[in-house]
Every structure is written in C-alpha cells, then in structure tokens.
C-alpha cells in the first residue's frame, strides 16, 4: 500500500531520514517506533505528502505520490498536534473537514454521525471542541482522520496524554480499523500499544531503519534471553536462559545448598527490550 524507497530528508545539516526503505502492506497495522528525533514524524510527513523527500520516492502503490491531491483522498491523518478548531463544535469541525473531501448532504451527515459515534462523542456533538478534555480532543482528532472513510490512516501518537478510558477507546478503534482491512501506520512511544496492536513494527533511530518485522520476530531477533528470577528467602538470583521452564525445573529438582525456593518470576523479552537493545539506554533530549 505505502512504499518508501531509499528516502532521504535533511533540514540544513541535520539528516532527519537517511535512506529509509519501507513497504506497508494493505490491511496491516504497522507500528513505527523510535526515540525522539529518530525521524518518525518526518517519515509520516513524507508519507502524507506534507514534506517532499530530498531523495528517493514515496508512493501509494498503484496511485502515485501523496503530494497528489487525489492520492491524499486515500489517506486519513491524525497529527500529533490536535488539529481542530476550538471555537467550532464537534459537528461543525467534522462538517468542515468533510467538505474538504467532497462529502456532501446525506453522506456527510451519515459520516459525521458514524465517526462521532465511533469515538463516543455523539452526545457532545454540539459542544465546542475548546470545552473538551484532552482525551476527547484526541478522539475527535481520530474522528476527523476517519471521516472520509480512507483506506489508509496515519496516526501520529494518537494516545499521547490521554486518560485510560480514552486510550482504550482509541486502541479498540484502531484494532477495529485493522479488522476492517484498513491500513494503519501508527507511531507511539508506548511499546505495549504497539505490541498489542501492530502486525508489523519498524524501529527507527537517527533516521535509519534499525529493525523491521512482526513483534515476535523482533523479539526473537533482538529481545535477548528470558530472565528467571528465583527468590530464596532474602536471597534473589537472576538466571538468563533461552528455556525458562527448563531452568525452573532444574532449580526445583536440584539439591542446591541454602534456603529453599520461595518464589519464581519469568521475564520474557518484550518489544521494550528490543527497543532498548536497538536504540540504546542513553537519554534522547
């Protein structure tokens, strides 16, 4: 669906994206992860035609580059910043944006109703967006992206700063969008979200693609070994292993001196450990 070929973008001497190649398949939920400054937002900006790459190409397969207005009709965008008019009501915001996508009359009314219902804001449709909470605004931001029913959505940190209820609503929506066969490109700093939602994940750092694959593949490849923690009274023992069950079994059946085992905890490698392995543990400010 979305193809980036050897894309490069620099702002002055700062290279934001350096030779990135990606292919997001139709109907998949694709996670784009990376620390601050990794180049995610620039990548998203190029994918929606907001920024032209210095080199390489971006295209929606079979349609052309997203700088073309007709191609942009196929994309729904939920930018990181809340791109809404606070002085307008939820309904007025959606009606305005809908008209930009040639939605008219009954179809517009239906779509406005449908997306407001989907994000749980139908009862508040006549309230000004400025009166909404942060979570409600995030859901409105997503509603605008879904309004014209695009086959592909680019969601840039759609759950940043929201309450658990709003986050759950958004995650469920993204999951349902994926289930409907839509292509979703999702950037986030929350690893558990990516692990929960994404069919495939790309990890970026310093403008480059560090890893790409399913969560399971990435964990297998870059997650390292599981850690089994044994508690023997006051004493705690960590064991790194590829086979935690065998390690536990061995420990329980063995005749090691000292106190008996009072507790066992298994820490399997996760996307977070993959992320930290690939991008390092130093702060990125």
């Amino acid at each position: 669906m979305l193809i980036l070929r050897d894309v490069r973008k620099a702002y002055g001497k700062t290279v934001a994206v350096d030779g990135l190649s990606l292919r997001v398949e139709a109907g998949e939920v694709f996670g784009l992860l990376g620390p601050n400054g990794a180049g995610k937002t620039t990548t998203i900006s190029m994918a929606i035609g907001l920024v032209r790459p210095d080199a390489g190409s971006v295209e929606l397969e079979g349609h052309g580059p997203p700088t073309d207005g007709n191609v942009r009709r196929l994309i729904g965008v939920a930018p990181q910043s809340l791109a809404l008019y606070d002085q307008l009501t939820a309904e007025e915001n959606l009606e305005f944006f809908g008209r930009l996508y040639d939605l008219r009359g009954k179809r517009l009314v239906e779509r406005v109703h449908a997306v407001l219902d989907a994000v749980g804001l139908l009862p508040r449709r006549r309230d000004r967006v400025g009166a909404f909470s942060g979570g409600m605004k995030r859901r409105m931001n997503l509603a605008v992206a879904m309004l014209h029913d695009p086959p592909m959505l680019l969601l840039d940190e759609p759950t940043a700063g929201v309450d658990p209820q709003s986050r759950n609503n958004i995650l469920e929506l993204v999951r349902s969008l994926g289930a409907q066969g839509r292509t979703v490109v999702y950037t986030t700093h929350y690893m558990e979200e990516a692990q929960r939602l994404c069919d495939r994940v790309a990890v970026m750092d310093q403008g480059r693609l560090m890893a790409l694959g399913t969560v399971h593949e990435l964990v297998e490849r870059h997650g390292g070994r599981s850690v089994v923690t044994f508690e023997r009274g006051e004493q705690i023992e960590h064991v790194q292993t590829d086979d935690p069950l065998r390690a536990i079994s061995g420990a329980l059946s063995g005749h090691a001196p000292g106190p008996a085992i009072s507790g066992v905890r298994i820490e399997r490698p996760s996307l977070e450990s993959v992320f930290l392995t690939l991008t390092g543990r130093s702060l990125r400010d």
Partner: protein
C-alpha cells in the same frame, strides 16, 4: 470552488465566534466613526450652544461692534476667520453650524436707518441644521437692532442720519405729499429728541406711520449652503471613511493572524494534507477576508446613511470602491499572513505594518490635514487609496472613471500582496 467557500465560511464563523476579534473588526470601527463624527461635527456637543464662525469683510467700527455683540450673545460660540471661503469650508466640514458674514459697506449702511441701503447681515448655514438656522436669524436681528440703539444714543450720528433721511424722503417720488408732511413732523420731533439728548434730557420716541413705505432698517439674509459634491455634507461623511479604513485594518489583522494561528495549532497541516492545493487554501482565506471587508464597509455605510444623514454621491463608484478596497486589503492581509511564522510574529508585524500604513495613509488623520511631504509618503499606503476611493464615492462625487487611478493602485496592491504572501507561504510550507 465549494472547498474555497467552505474554507471562507469556516474562517468567518471563527471570526464571529471570537467575540473580541469580532468586536474590533466590526463594532470598533463603527464606534470610532460615530465618536469622531460627533467630535468634529457637533452632533455630540454637550454645551447646547451653536458654533458660529464670523467673517468681517468691512472692518469698520460698526462691523467690529456688531461682531463684539455677536460674540457676547447667549447661545453662540463665535470664532472668526478672515475669508468667506474659509468660513464656508468650516460649515461644509461640520466644524461649525453657521457662518455669519459682515459684508463690505456694513459700516456705511449701519447709518441708513430710515433711508438708503439697509444694514445687511448674511448667514450661511449647514443644510442639515435647519433648526439652528431659525435661532440664528433671531439672534442676528436682535444684535442688528442693538446697533440701532447705539445710533440713537449718539446725537451727532443721529442728526446726520435724520438730515439724510429727510432729504431722501423729500426727493422720493414714491412718497406722497401728505406722507412727506407726516415724515417732516416725525423728523422734527426726532430733532427735538436728539437736541434734548444733547442737553442731557430724555424724551418719548415717536412711532412712525405710513403706507407704501417699508421701513426695513436691518436686512438679515440667511441662506443654506449649497450642496457641493466636492465637499462632505457633514462631519460623519469624513469620519465614516476613516471608520471604514479602520474596519479594513481590523479584517487584515484578524485574518492575517488566522493563518499563523492555523500554522501553530496544527490545523494548517490538516488542511495541507487534505486534497486541497495550497492555492485553494489561500484563496479560501482570501475570500473570507474579502467578505469580511465588504461586510464591514457595507455595515458602516448603511449606518452612516441611515442614522447620520450621510449621502452617497456616487453609488456606482461606491460599489466599485467597496469591492476594490476590499481586494486591496486582502493583499495586505496575505502579505502579513504569508510572512508571519507564528501568531506572535503576525501580531507584532501586523501592529507595526498596520499602524504605520494607517498613520501615513490617513487612517488616523485625514490626508488633507497632512503636510505635503507626508501626503507624498502616504502614496505607499493602501489606507490612503482606500480613503480616496471611499471619500471619492461618498462625498466627492467622483465617477468610476475619475477613480481609475486609485482603483488601479488598490488592485495592484492586492495582486502584489497576494503574490508575495503566497510565495512566502509556500516557502515556509516547503521547509
């Protein structure tokens, strides 16, 4: 086109929802025009006195005495000027309600109580101030008769006056012999009265009788200033074009800021990632500004005509003036919007740009009050040209053809402003 309309409607709706912005765009210019119209025109004068300018074209002692009595009269604020033309100009501008002219020969005619050319006073009033005209007529007659009182109290002048009158009546073919006899008796009685005054005594004044002879010792002529298409009919005709220019400035500021607002709040990103082209987005913004400019002008003109007796001398030219000045100011807005990266920059640049252009362009002081060098500098300001076309259509009575140059300048400013703004917008967007 529908997208442009949607963008424009959205911007107008946002403008109206922002009460402070809407106030300064639509209401403030109206208040400004009404306030300055009242200040300069007397509509809001609280003293209850009539402002009169007087001109002494005679310069004699009787004329000076008349003006002194005029200045001391209740209910009048009297200033003087040196020429009749300047006095009429003050009336036309609404600075005063009337001009009183003491004509040449007043001193001589002041002695013609009984014969010859009577004492003549002229007054010219604003056609819109008919009520004051009646008051002024009464006042002028009262003051003129006061001059006659002085004549009676001066025996030498009175004796000379009686001698001239006696001779004039005796030589007049219009006065019959019996009437001449009666007048002779009357003048003899007056001679005795004057003689007694000289001697320090007093006597009863005699009453004149007669027919076929109109005794008209004072001739007060009050006329209304003729409507002059090249002059404003009242002060509101000047203040409302100023208000319109300030309204246009409000639109420029409001919409110039709105693009920067959209940029910093992310909505511009959403617009630019929609199917719309950059040109469509800018056209939508420009259309909203244009509509707001037209609304504010039409609203002010409607109020001026309906409530303040302002007449539109050239309605057709006014239609063009409203449309073309709106177009020109859209260019200013685009220039401001395109060159501003943030709301702070837009606000700061807007204040600087607008205030300077407004000041030199007649937005604060009418251009015709400015020194020559500032009038020349004002040519770079769209405010000047907007003022020229609005005033030209409103009270100068200029035709579309006569306004072709300022129209062309405003259209040029609109095109250049739009082009520079669009280029700057694209340059910022392409970063």
């Amino acid at each position: 086109m529908d997208a442009i309309f949607a963008l424009a409607m959205k911007d107008l709706r946002l403008l109206l929802r922002d009460r402070a912005n809407a106030f300064f765009t639509f209401v403030f210019p109206l208040l400004l025009a009404m306030f300055f119209g009242a200040v300069f025109g007397g509509g809001g004068g609280g003293s209850g006195r009539m402002d009169v300018v007087a001109v002494d074209l005679d310069g004699g002692p009787a004329a000076r005495a008349f003006l002194a009595d005029l200045a001391a009269a209740d209910g009048l604020n009297v200033t003087t000027t040196t020429t009749r033309a300047d006095g009429e100009r003050q009336v036309r501008r609404g600075a005063v309600q009337a001009l009183v002219v003491v004509p040449k020969g007043f001193d001589e005619s002041a002695g013609n109580m009984f014969s010859g050319t009577p004492m003549r006073i002229e007054a010219v009033v604003d056609p819109g101030r008919s009520a004051e005209a009646g008051l002024l007529t009464g006042k002028l007659n009262e003051i003129a008769f006061m001059q006659m009182g002085r004549l009676f109290n001066d025996p030498a002048k009175m004796t000379a006056q009686l001698d001239r009158a006696r001779a004039s009546i005796n030589n007049s073919p219009d006065v019959s012999a019996p009437q001449k006899l009666l007048f002779g008796t009357f003048f003899t009685a007056l001679d005795r009265l004057v003689a007694s005054q000289r001697a320090g005594g007093a006597g009863e004044p005699a009453k004149a009788e007669g027919s076929g002879f109109a005794w008209r010792p004072v001739d007060v002529q009050v006329s209304k200033l003729e409507a002059d298409p090249n002059r404003p009919n009242n002060s509101y005709a000047i203040s409302f074009p100023q208000g319109i220019v300030w309204g246009l400035m409000g639109c420029v500021t409001a919409f110039g800021l709105s693009l920067a607002f959209e940029r910093t709040h992310g909505t511009l990103m959403r617009l630019t990632t929609s199917p719309l082209s950059r040109s469509t987005i800018l056209l939508g913004k420009a259309l909203a500004c244009f509509v707001a400019c037209v609304i504010v002008q039409v609203m002010l003109l409607a109020v001026a005509v309906a409530l303040f007796n302002v007449r539109i001398a050239s309605p057709v030219a006014m239609v063009f003036a409203v449309a073309i000045s709106s177009f020109g100011f859209v260019g200013v807005m685009m220039l401001l919007a395109g060159m501003s990266r943030s709301e702070g920059a837009a606000a700061g640049m807007g204040r600087a740009l607008i205030l300077v252009l407004a000041m030199i362009g007649g937005g604060t002081i009418p251009v015709f009050f400015m020194p020559d060098w500032l009038k020349t500098a004002s040519s770079v300001s769209p405010f000047k040209w907007a003022t020229v076309v609005v005033e030209g259509s409103l009270w100068r009575g200029m035709t579309v053809f006569e306004l072709a140059t300022p129209f062309a300048v405003l259209i040029g400013m609109g095109i250049v402003g739009y082009a520079i703004g669009a280029i700057a917008f694209r340059a910022a967007d392409a970063r």
